[in-house]
Structures are given as C-alpha cells and as structure tokens.
C-alpha cells in the first residue's frame, strides 16, 4: 500500500525536478506578481495633474493656490485657462481636474464664496480621491482663516493595523492567497491531465493502484511545492515590503496547508473531467483564478458587491483565506477569531477531495 503511494509521489518529484521551465515559472511568477502589486499597483494617488484658474488674483487666492501646489497630491500643470478650454483639456488628458477660483474670492461678498472643482470622473475612483484631497486642503485653509472662531468639535482618527495606509499591507497577503490558489489548482489539474494526454494513465490504471493512492500521490508533491512557494512569497513580502507578521506563524502555516489542499483539490476535480492540458488550464483559470481575483475581496470589498456575488464569494476558498491571512498577519488574530473561516475551508477541502476521488474514472469509458 505505502509503496504504491510512494511510487507515485517520488515519480512526481522527478517530473517536477526535470521540468525546469515549469519550476522556474512556479518560483518566479509569484515573485514577479508580488513586486508588481507591491510597487506598481497602488490605490493611493499622488501628483494629480491639475489646472488652476485663479480669477481673483489677490493675496488670499494666491495663498490657497500655494496650499494646493505644495501638497504632494496635486501637480499644477497649467494655469488660468478659459472656460471653453476645460473640456479639451480633459479630452487631451492634460489634467484630471480644474479648480476655478471666482473673481469675488476673498472679498466680503457672501453670495460668491464658491470655488469650482471640475473633475474628470471617467475614473470614478480617482474622482473620489481628488474630491477628498481637495476637501482636506480646503478645510485646513478655512481653519486658518476662520479668525480664531471656536469650532464645535474636531475629530482625530487613529489608524490601527496599517497606520501609514500602505496598500502593500493590504495587497501582499491577499496576493499570497491568490497566488496559492492559482498554482495549486493549476499544478494539480495539469498533473493528472498530462497522464491522460500522454497515455500513461492507461498504463498505470492496470496496476494495483487505487484512485485514492493516485489522488493523494499527486497531491502531496504539489502541496509541498505550493507551500514552499507561498513561504517564499511571505518571506519576500515581509523583508521587501515590511508587511508585518503579528500573529502566529504556526497558525498561518497550518491554515496555509488547509487552503493549499482546497486549491489542489479544485484542480483535481477539473482534471477528472477534462482531457487536454490546455482545456484544464483554461478551466482552472476561469473556475478558480478569476473568482479569486475579483470576487474574494482581494481588491474589491465583498460587502459592496450585489447580493448574488456576495453569495458566490462565500463558496470561493480565497474569500475565507483572505480574512484569515490578513487577520493573522496584520491584526495578530488567533484561532478563536478565525474559526468560521477555517471551518469553511476545511469543509471545502474535504468535500472537493472526496468528490474528485469518487469522480476519478478508473476505466476509459
């Protein structure tokens, strides 16, 4: 019994070792994605190209303009354009917003205290940020010029777990979740379909091998490979992006194993119903990777999705693992807080594995 299982495991390790190309992709791709998401892709905005049309031209308006120009959010790319030029400016992408200060600014005319902010809202997310940033600058400008008037209150936020609001803290643990799902599902689906495609499955089916031994024998090597891969990504994330590790490493490793198994078993299930490696890859992409990217809360919060998608997100393992990994790494959450998610993941893995063992055809029918 053990020998049969071992024969599959050791053979699979030889495949992994010999296929240098795949091995390189498996190791380098996650790191590449990590650096991409860690450095290049960020939700913060700075240096927003801005045009300011100052029609007042008095000391007060100049002070306001200086406030804007000296912030790192806005970069003034033009000044004093005519109203008719605003749309062409947006169309040529020379600016994302235009600030118009009226001629009456700073004069004691209560009817004319409105500064116009025209935003190119074709990117609604960016439009939101611009609005918020200018609001903050304006608020502090107003405070300075309120003439010592006592404000009723002021609020002071305290940011926990990610005080600098680094998006890499948010992305990197999430990325680990997505990468693991991608590789575990992809590797395991290809591992069995390759045997079908090469005809080797027909040969090893006529042997004492049981479906359970074949499935477990395929799982173990890729479990170890995926685990090594994720630990590598976590170490790089910790060292290069200073993503903190507040919780227990052992707990994280244990949950990682459960999560990897859920990904591997997804792949196994796909491999039992597909015949070519290419179809298996496509199916894996569509069934596991896309949902993990889009519906798990990796970038977009689950709570703001339509109800249908919220429901779907609950059957995506990545959704649960994201809560777990962000909880452990950023908040130092323990076993007790993560029980529901861990339970869901364990259930997933068990159901998927038993379904794929049962669905595994031991004949060529």
């Amino acid at each position: 019994m053990k020998k049969v299982l071992w024969s599959i495991i050791s053979k699979e390790f030889i495949h992994i070792r010999r296929d240098k190309q795949t091995l390189a992709i498996v190791i380098l791709w996650p790191l590449l994605m990590l650096f991409l998401y860690g450095y290049a892709i960020t939700l913060e905005m700075k240096e927003i190209p801005t045009i300011i049309t100052d029609l007042a031209h008095n000391p007060l308006s100049r002070e306001y303009v200086d406030d804007i120009a000296s912030s790192r959010f806005f970069r003034v790319t033009g000044r004093d354009i005519a109203e008719s030029e605003i749309e062409p400016v947006f169309r040529h992408r020379r600016a994302r917003c235009v600030i118009v200060i009226p001629p009456s600014f700073g004069k004691d005319d209560p009817g004319n205290r409105i500064i116009q902010l025209i935003i190119d809202a074709s990117d609604p997310n960016a439009a939101n940020y611009i609005h918020t940033y200018l609001g903050t600058i304006t608020a502090s400008f107003n405070r300075r010029h309120s003439g010592g008037m006592r404000l009723p209150f002021r609020f002071e936020p305290r940011l926990l777990y990610n005080p600098d609001l680094k998006s890499s803290f948010f992305f990197v643990p999430g990325l680990v979740a997505v990468i693991i799902m991608l590789f575990s599902a992809l590797l395991s689906s290809i591992a069995i379909v390759r045997e079908k495609e090469m005809g080797t499955l027909e040969q090893i089916l006529v042997s004492p091998l049981t479906p359970m031994q074949l499935v477990i024998g395929k799982l173990v090597p890729y479990l170890l490979l995926s685990l090594a891969d994720s630990i590598l990504v976590l170490i790089v994330a910790h060292v290069c992006f200073t993503v903190p590790m507040h919780g227990s490493g052992i707990l994280l490793l244990a949950t990682l194993i459960i999560y990897v198994v859920s990904g591997l078993s997804f792949g196994l299930l796909i491999s039992t119903v597909t015949r070519s490696q290419q179809i298996a890859m496509m199916a894996t992409m569509v069934i596991t990777v896309l949902p993990s990217f889009l519906l798990s809360g990796f970038i977009f919060p689950v709570r703001s999705m339509p109800l249908l998608f919220q429901g779907i997100s609950q059957i995506i393992p990545a959704t649960h693992f994201l809560i777990i990994i962000r909880g452990i790494m950023l908040k130092g959450a323990g076993l007790a807080e993560l029980m529901p998610q861990l339970g869901a993941l364990t259930l997933f893995s068990l159901v998927l594995i038993s379904v794929s063992i049962r669905k595994f055809h031991t004949t060529l029918e």
Binding site: M1, K3, V4, W6, S7, I8, S10, K11, I14, H15, R18, D19, M198, G199, T200, E202, Q203, I204, L205, V206, S207, P208, L209, T362, T363, L364, E365
Partner: protein
C-alpha cells in the same frame, strides 16, 4: 486449471457503432495468440475490455477463470498490459521507469534489482539505463515498455500493437522476446495489423469490423483456403488489375505489389485464365498456381 484468457461472446458498442461483435477467444497457457486485423477492426476494444479498462455491453471476459468486470482489482494487479501508444514517462530514465513500475507493483527493491538485471540481459537495454525514455529509439521504447510490464513477472501478458511503427530489425528482436517468454510458460495475447507477424503466433484470430472471421493456427487457416489461386506475375500490377476488373468479377481479383492474384471461384482452371489474358491483350511474365497466404485469406474472408 483455469484458462489464462477466455473471452465469451463479447460485444461492445460506442453510441451507434458496434465496435466488437460477439467475439470469443481463448488463450492457453504458454501460447502466443495473435489478434490480427486492420486499424479500426476492434482489436483495441477487445484488449481494453480484457484488461478491465472498458466494460462490455454483453458477453464476458475471464482472466484466470475470474470474470474481469467482477474482479478488476485482481486483473489489474496480475496481468501485464502494454497499451497501443507508448505509455511510459518520457522524462524518466530507463532505470527510473523500471523502478517506478516495480514500486507500483509493490516489489521489494532487492528483488527489483535482480529482476532488472534479468530484464537488461533480455532486452539489452543496460547501456541505456540512464537515458531518458523519451530519447530512446522506437524499437528500444517498446523493449522498455515490455520490460516495465514484466517487472512484476505476470503469467499473462496482453500487448496492443506492440510493433506498430517499429523498424524490421527491432520488430524481429521484439518477437524473439515474446517467443522466449512463451517458452517459459507466459501466455501472450498480442494484436497486430501486420499479417506477416501471424506466423510468429501459435494461434491467430482474424478480426474485421468487430467480428472474428476465422481462428486457428496460421498454417491451418491457410490450408483451409477454399479455392484455387493463381498469381499473374507482371510489370505493372495496377494496370493489369484495372483491365481485368472489366472482364472478371472484381471480387475474384486481389491486387498485391508483386502481382495480381485471381481467386478462381468458378473453378475454371488455369487455361481459361490464360485465354482471358490473351483476349484482353495483357502482357505478363507468367501465370502460375499459387499457395494462399494469410493476406489472400483475409481479403477473401472480408469480401
């Protein structure tokens, strides 16, 4: 003592296509049985059913006296099976492939070593033991596949077109290995599309469109050819065949590379045929009475 292989009225269809139609075959201990027929005749379906990879629609296959569909586990761990396509791991070396199959069949490593030495002597693959299976020549690949299948010393081996696409020298070496196995008591069930390999079998079955047309020893089958047979020895058999088709019933003509055969179903005799040739103004080197070959028999049977 139970027969190694006994196939009884086996039928199997894929959708509307009847692939195997009431096939019955028995193989005795130490016998080489050849299932011979063209591509698509149903050879692979018979073999896959025999090794439990397919389930028959009706009829049954017995392996060592046990119904295959009821004891797939027993069949799979005792039979030796070599599929039609090369089915070893190309990225594993000769030795690694052998060890893999040894482990798969739960053979202790020390016995594997001894077995491998025997198999190396048998197949002469020793010098290539570190070479990747994918880098072997066609003939060596098949020898390796045979060796892998022999790691667990099965008493019954089933091979699906093992010599397909293999060069003539390797083919004859391969058959030499099968003959040696049979001498040692191994029962061999082998399929092939090459008629000339029939003589290397103890008994054969001719299969076409899923049906067994005839079974027996190669010599016995040929001796049973029912009609006189003549061979027209000529430069351009194709040309002769075309002209003769218009004067003689086409089902009496068999076109071969070496000449045109005439099956004298009306028993008109050699002279009558010579007259026909003269009338049709066909130039030929000679006409002679010929001994039937298996190919003549096969073409006659599928008529």
């Amino acid at each position: 003592m139970d027969r190694p292989i006994e196939i009884k009225a086996l039928s199997k269809s894929y959708g509307d296509t009847l692939a195997v139609d009431r096939v019955s075959i028995t193989v005795d201990k130490g016998e080489i049985y050849g299932l011979i027929g063209p591509d698509g005749a149903g050879k692979t379906t018979v073999i896959r059913t025999l090794v439990s990879l397919l389930v028959p629609d009706s009829g049954e296959a017995l392996f060592m006296g046990r119904t295959v569909s009821a004891y797939p586990g027993f069949v799979r761990s005792h039979i030796g099976y070599m599929p039609q396509r090369f089915s070893l791991y190309r990225d594993l070396s000769v030795e690694e492939n052998l060890h893999f199959f040894g482990d798969l069949f739960q053979i202790p490593r020390d016995r594997q070593r001894r077995r491998m030495d025997e198999l190396y002597a048998f197949s002469r693959l020793q010098p290539f033991r570190t070479r990747l299976a994918g880098a072997l020549s066609g003939g060596m690949k098949q020898k390796l596949a045979l060796s892998c299948m022999l790691m667990h010393q099965p008493e019954v081996i089933v091979l699906d077109e093992p010599t397909f696409g293999v060069d003539p020298v390797s083919r004859s070496e391969f058959w030499g290995m099968l003959a040696a196995l049979s001498r040692d008591g191994t029962s061999v069930f082998v399929s092939t599309a090459y008629m000339d390999e029939a003589d290397l079998c103890h008994r054969i079955g001719l299969i076409h469109h899923g049906r067994i047309l005839a079974q027996g020893t190669p010599d016995g089958l040929i001796a049973g050819f029912p009609w006189p047979l003549y061979r027209i020895d000529c430069e351009n058999p194709h040309h002769v065949y075309t002209i003769l088709s218009s004067t003689l019933p086409p089902d009496q003509l068999q076109l071969f590379g070496s000449g045109v055969y005439v099956v004298d179903r009306g028993k008109n005799g050699l002279r009558s045929l010579q007259r026909t040739l003269r009338t049709a103004k066909i130039a030929c080197r000679g006409i002679s009475s010929a001994d039937a070959t298996l190919e003549n028999l096969f073409l006659e049977l599928i008529r």
